[in-house]
């Protein structure tokens, strides 16, 4: 087991900077997701950690070693690729055994280890097959097996589930979490799928444009997004973001936008009067009574709840979420309340920082509640 530390890591491809001065410190045994839209530098970050790409500056540390000069094979990592990268000319057994072979493990021992890994992943029947004779899900498990067989310090996974169908993906999510719990190894998991990141990780590193936006546990990323980008990226349906102005009278902050004026909770010292952005999660909009006037525009029924899009007087649109029995017809006028204690205020611009005082936000009440209290130390002691 080892911690992983990025210090001021930058990566340039010619004039283009793919990763900007990344500082990230991953604890021993932690499951960390790198989450962000496509092209934000997740894979590049992971490949630098693996030794497949070289930082233009900065240091990467695994355990107590700075690994900048070490070849991938010397870093004691294993990587699972989005494309699986199974060796097409080798059988499943030889694919899984390859990392051991490269480390000089004898044949008998190798076969035993392969058999054990295959057993774990239910691949025993398939050991003699070639990768192209496998389904996508089976290939994915072989790729996993090749990483597991060696018990490395750190597992690197680059969107390992993105080529699977939805059902299998859900199943594998659970399997991977289970695997992580059992192995207790550090895992760095790259994904653009927030559901995966939210459900599996101890902490999520949200990236955008090659920059780290926030690094925090899923619950915190959801409840206290560090800036407007994170707020908009996390959560489905997304947080409603309304541009407007902030003003202060007698120590009380008020947010004003066309058709909307509401007091907002205590803000940090960074807050200034002027342009700002209000963020409200759909579950913090209550429909029925309140000071805000709106018109129902869309109702999306998902079964157990309804997603409602409401037009405000000033032209803004608001997303709300209510339990299934409640519904409205299109065009109906409604009164709304935006729960001020759950409202977020961000500075101006696409990356405006969150201005709420951190501890003032109430505990969340959402379905995203991956309460994974992991007895890490205890587990380590068990082994």
């Amino acid at each position: 087991m080892a911690e992983v530390v990025f210090s001021k890591v930058q990566k340039k491809f010619g004039a283009f900077t793919a990763v900007h001065g990344l500082d990230l410190s991953i604890a021993e045994g932690e499951f960390v997701s790198l989450l962000g839209p496509s092209g934000c530098g997740k894979t590049t970050t992971l490949r630098m950690l693996a030794g497949l790409e070289f930082p233009s500056s900065g240091d990467i540390q695994i355990g107590d070693r700075v690994v900048n000069d070490l070849a991938p094979g010397q870093r004691d990592i294993a990587m699972v690729f989005q494309s699986y990268a199974l060796y097409p000319h080798l059988t499943v057994g030889d694919n899984i055994g390859y990392p051991l072979k490269k480390r000089g493990v004898g044949k008998a021992e190798r076969l035993a280890a392969v058999a054990k890994t295959a057993e774990l992943l239910q691949l025993t029947e398939l050991l003699k097959r070639k990768p192209r004779q496998l389904s996508g899900g089976q290939q994915q498990r072989v790729a996993l097996g090749r990483a597991l067989v060696r018990d490395p310090q750190v597992f690197l996974l680059d969107e390992p589930l993105s080529n699977l169908d939805a059902k299998l993906r859900g199943y594998m999510r659970v399997e991977l979490v289970e695997l992580h719990r059992r192995l207790g190894r550090t895992m760095v998991y790259v994904t653009h799928d927030q559901l995966e990141a939210m459900t599996m990780s101890d902490r999520i590193a949200v990236m955008e444009g090659g920059k780290l936006q926030q690094f925090a546990p899923p619950a915190q990323v959801y409840a206290e997004p560090a800036n407007r980008f994170v707020a908009s990226f996390i959560g489905t349906p997304g947080m409603t973001l309304i541009d407007g102005d902030l003003s202060q009278t007698g120590g009380v902050w008020t947010f004003n936008a066309p058709g909307l004026s509401m007091p907002v909770g205590p803000l940090t010292d960074e807050a200034t009067a002027g342009p700002a952005c209000l963020g409200v999660r759909p579950e913090h909009v209550s429909i029925g009574t309140g000071p805000v006037q709106g018109v129902i525009q869309v109702v999306e029924k998902t079964g157990h709840e309804n997603i409602v899009i409401i037009g405000l007087e000033g032209g803004h649109r608001l997303t709300g979420r209510v339990p299934a029995p409640q519904s409205w017809s299109i065009g109906e006028s409604v009164q709304l309340t935006l729960e001020a204690e759950h409202a977020h205020i961000f500075g101006a611009g696409p990356h405006g920082a969150r201005l709420n005082r951190p501890h003032e936000t109430a505990p969340l009440k959402t379905k995203h509640n991956p309460d994974k209290t992991k007895p890490k130390l205890q587990k380590a002691a068990n082994e």
Partner: protein, 275 residues
Amino acid sequence: MLTFRKILFNLMAWSIVLAVAFPLFWMLVTSVKPGFELFRRPPTILPETWTFEHYWKLLSETNFLIYFRNSIILSSATTLVVVAVATLGAFSLVRFKYRGRESLAFLVLFTYLLPSVVLIIPLYLLLVGLGVSNTIFSLVIAYTTFALPYALWLLRSFMAGIPEDLESAALCDGATRMGAFRDVILPQLLPGIISTALFTFILSWNEYLYALVLVNSDSSRPLTTGVMNMLISSFNIEWSLLMAASVMMSVPLIIVFAFLQSYLTRGFGAGGVKG
């Protein structure tokens, strides 16, 4: 009605195909006709009497076997050297980063298109100067001038088609760069290598100009200039003999066509056309 049109279309298509193939058919037929039948008017389409006397004469009374041996040695040596050098070179050009890599790739493409006659005079002077002219070795050197850029270009494009993740996976699994090359890239590249080797072999086998200029002794002459010499030097031209020589000269090609044709089409896609 529809089937009638289909039959008509097929007949027309096949008559064109047969017309294109006719010269080759005629070569075969001529090579097994006895001498007297050759001058029959009107000519016989299929030989009345089949004979292999021309083949026998070719092998026993002419230098054909020596030329054939020379061609085999020459083409094999060229192919071996060129494919080995080009495989490593292509790996370097596609999967490594260093200064000058782009310009080198450009140079390869440029030389791939360069005419032989530009190089032939200095090469002639160079090889005479080195004292190796008139040997098969000198031809191997000369042939690399067109075969190496060609093979590099082809293999470069085959190499680029191998997913980079495969090599990355091997590196993570503990292989060195060369280890990954041997364990993972080479097996994937094999069809490309075979295809390139076939093309290089055929190019060398068919080359004429360098052989004409650089070699003028029968002991190291390859088939192309050797057989052409049989035409020029004979007092009265024995067409049956020449056709037999042509057939024999095409034997390696016929073998490739019979068994390995898919590799030829693959090479077409990778090098010439896609560019």
